[in-house]
């Protein structure tokens, strides 16, 4: 659902104030956080979606990596996961077996346990997980913790929405498609562990609302403005080629419409470069707000583990707009 519709609908849900609920509905965060004791907090999230790739095993991996990511974005470790499945009668059972195998392997890689699940008959397959995780209450990397003076780190390349569209159009090379698949199915576990080691103040994962959608949630919740340097953004191979050809997902246009008054984009950015900033991501990376020395260490340590992270901007005191995007901060 688009950010505009979602915020309209959620307005009518009463917000309950309980001191044990550390993160709830009000700050547009990735997961709910509930304080169990002074040294333990429970993190709860759910995420599922329709297939974006043809291979059921890969789809299972991506959906699971995406659901687990919400736990990582809060600074937690996954404990238990429950499968959520919608599946049609007309497809062979082996397809579902492959989806679940992909999901189970990702949960295992994350150090969690799949403890059950629920299935519903539906015309179109859908898969995802409800995940329960644990964190230390003092280490929750909520959206509210970005501070002016921090820098911004993004831990996966952008462009999955555009590349998926390009794959549908049969214009993406095999090498670029498998690079995108690798990126979408990769856990945000190393990125989450690195940010906890080096003192990130805030974190969110980049998914359906695009880089600027999720960045603006963080800016709003923290009362700051985020400055993003377009030239520093890590991109999946062939993303700009596909964007230039007009292979922009509809969700990107929805995201741009919703954010129109909250972001200021450099006039030097070409139309396709602007759209990339709103491109809905499937199982995207983490966006961190972190002091500069820690950021360098996070990027360096992740590079050693084969994770493409980059410093993409900085946190400023709150200005009129939530986000400011420069074409090239070096100019």
């Amino acid at each position: 659902m688009g950010p505009h519709t979602l915020s309209q609908v959620l307005r009518h849900i009463p917000i309950l104030n309980d001191p044990r609920l550390l993160v709830g509905l009000d700050t547009s965060d990735d997961a709910a956080v509930y304080k169990l004791s002074d040294d333990q907090a429970l993190i709860q999230t759910v995420d599922f979606f329709t297939p974006m790739v043809d291979d059921p095993y890969l789809y299972g991996q991506i959906a699971a990596a995406n659901a687990l990511s919400d736990i990582y974005a809060m600074g937690g470790k996954p404990l238990l996961a429950l499968n959520i499945v919608c599946f049609p009668d007309c497809l062979p059972h082996t397809v579902l077996e492959e989806i679940l195998r992909g999901g189970a392997e990702k949960v295992k890689e994350a150090g969690g346990i799949i403890a059950g699940g629920h299935t519903v008959r539906d015309a179109e397959p859908k898969y995802g997980l409800s995940v329960t995780g644990l964190a230390k209450p003092g280490q929750i990397t909520a959206n509210t913790g970005a501070r002016a003076g921090d820098v911004l780190v993004l831990t996966k390349p952008l462009g999955t929405g555009i590349i998926i569209n390009g794959i549908k159009a049969k214009l993406v090379s095999e090498a670029a498609a498998s690079e995108a698949a690798r990126s979408m199915s990769a856990l945000n576990k190393p990125a989450s562990e690195a940010m906890l080691r080096h003192g990130a103040g805030a974190c969110t994962d980049i998914t359906g609302f695009g880089l600027l959608g999720h960045a603006s949630e963080m800016a709003e919740a923290s009362g700051v403005t985020l400055e993003i340097d377009f030239s520093a953004l890590p991109l999946l191979p062939e993303t700009m080629d596909m964007a230039r050809m007009g292979l922009i997902p509809g969700g990107a246009y929805n995201n741009r419409e919703y954010l129109r008054d909250r972001v200021k984009l450099d006039e030097k950015l070409k139309p396709e470069e602007q759209m990339l900033l709103f491109d809905p991501q499937t199982s995207g990376g983490l966006l961190l707000s972190i002091p500069a020395p820690g950021a360098e260490k996070v990027v360096g340590e992740l590079a050693e583990q084969g994770v493409r992270a980059a410093i993409i901007g900085r946190v400023l005191p709150r200005e009129e707009k939530l986000i400011r995007v420069l074409a090239d901060a070096r100019c």
């Binding site: 159009a169 230039r244 007009g246 246009y253």
Partner: protein
């Protein structure tokens, strides 16, 4: 002047862009009107056509968008720009485009394959007119990088106006982008434009 109408009503993204692209690539088509019924398709088709060097004028009737796509007056679209590339093209015909996807010609002994590929480039460098473009993909990109056996032949053709393009994804994949010695880094979009241009395409695989 051949005009074509491409009706994309009811089609989901990315189909309107693909259908528009296919129509523009057809022989002899100089202008098209793409009809779409949603704003995402309108914006995407416009973005595609403008970036491919066309002029786009849009009108709306009863919630349906009519996008009139024409060659830009003054500037030539990429497809025709390719046509002008080989300045030495003989009037009898256009110089061909070579698509090179290997650094070893043919199957069998790799040593023989390398001898043959060198022989091919020596021959190409002597042809008149020289090729319009050399497109290097997959292991073909090793030929445009440091350590290539055919650098002098490439330099001769490049100097005579032959476009030398190496696939960026391939250079990245083999981790040799910093070793590129001749021509420029290209992408599938540009390569595809060359392949669908008016020249004859010869594949070396």
């Amino acid at each position: 002047m051949v005009h074509k109408t491409v009706d994309c009503r009811g089609l989901a993204c990315p189909q309107p862009v693909i259908n528009t692209k296919k129509a523009l690539e057809e022989e002899g088509i100089t202008s098209i009107t793409t009809i779409v019924d949603n704003d995402v398709a309108r914006q995407n088709v416009t973005l595609f056509a403008k970036n491919a060097g066309y002029e786009v004028a849009g009108e709306t009737k009863d919630g349906v968008f009519y996008l009139h796509i024409n060659h830009q007056s003054g500037a030539l679209p990429q497809k025709e720009a390719a046509l002008q590339q080989p300045k030495t093209a003989s009037p009898a015909g256009l110089a061909p485009v070579y698509l090179i996807t290997t650094n070893s010609l043919g199957q069998g002994s790799p040593d023989l394959g390398q001898v043959l590929i060198k022989s091919l480039f020596t021959t190409l460098a002597e042809t008149d007119p020289p090729p319009a473009a050399l497109l290097f993909l997959n292991t073909g990109v090793f030929l445009t990088c440091d350590g290539s056996d055919v650098m002098s032949q490439l330099e001769k053709m490049h100097g005579a106006g032959t476009a030398v393009l190496s696939c960026g994804t391939c250079l990245d994949y083999y981790n040799i982008k910093d070793k590129l010695k001749i021509g420029s880094v290209s992408n599938m979009f540009e390569i595809n434009n060359r392949l669908t241009g008016p020249q004859k395409v010869i594949s070396i695989a």
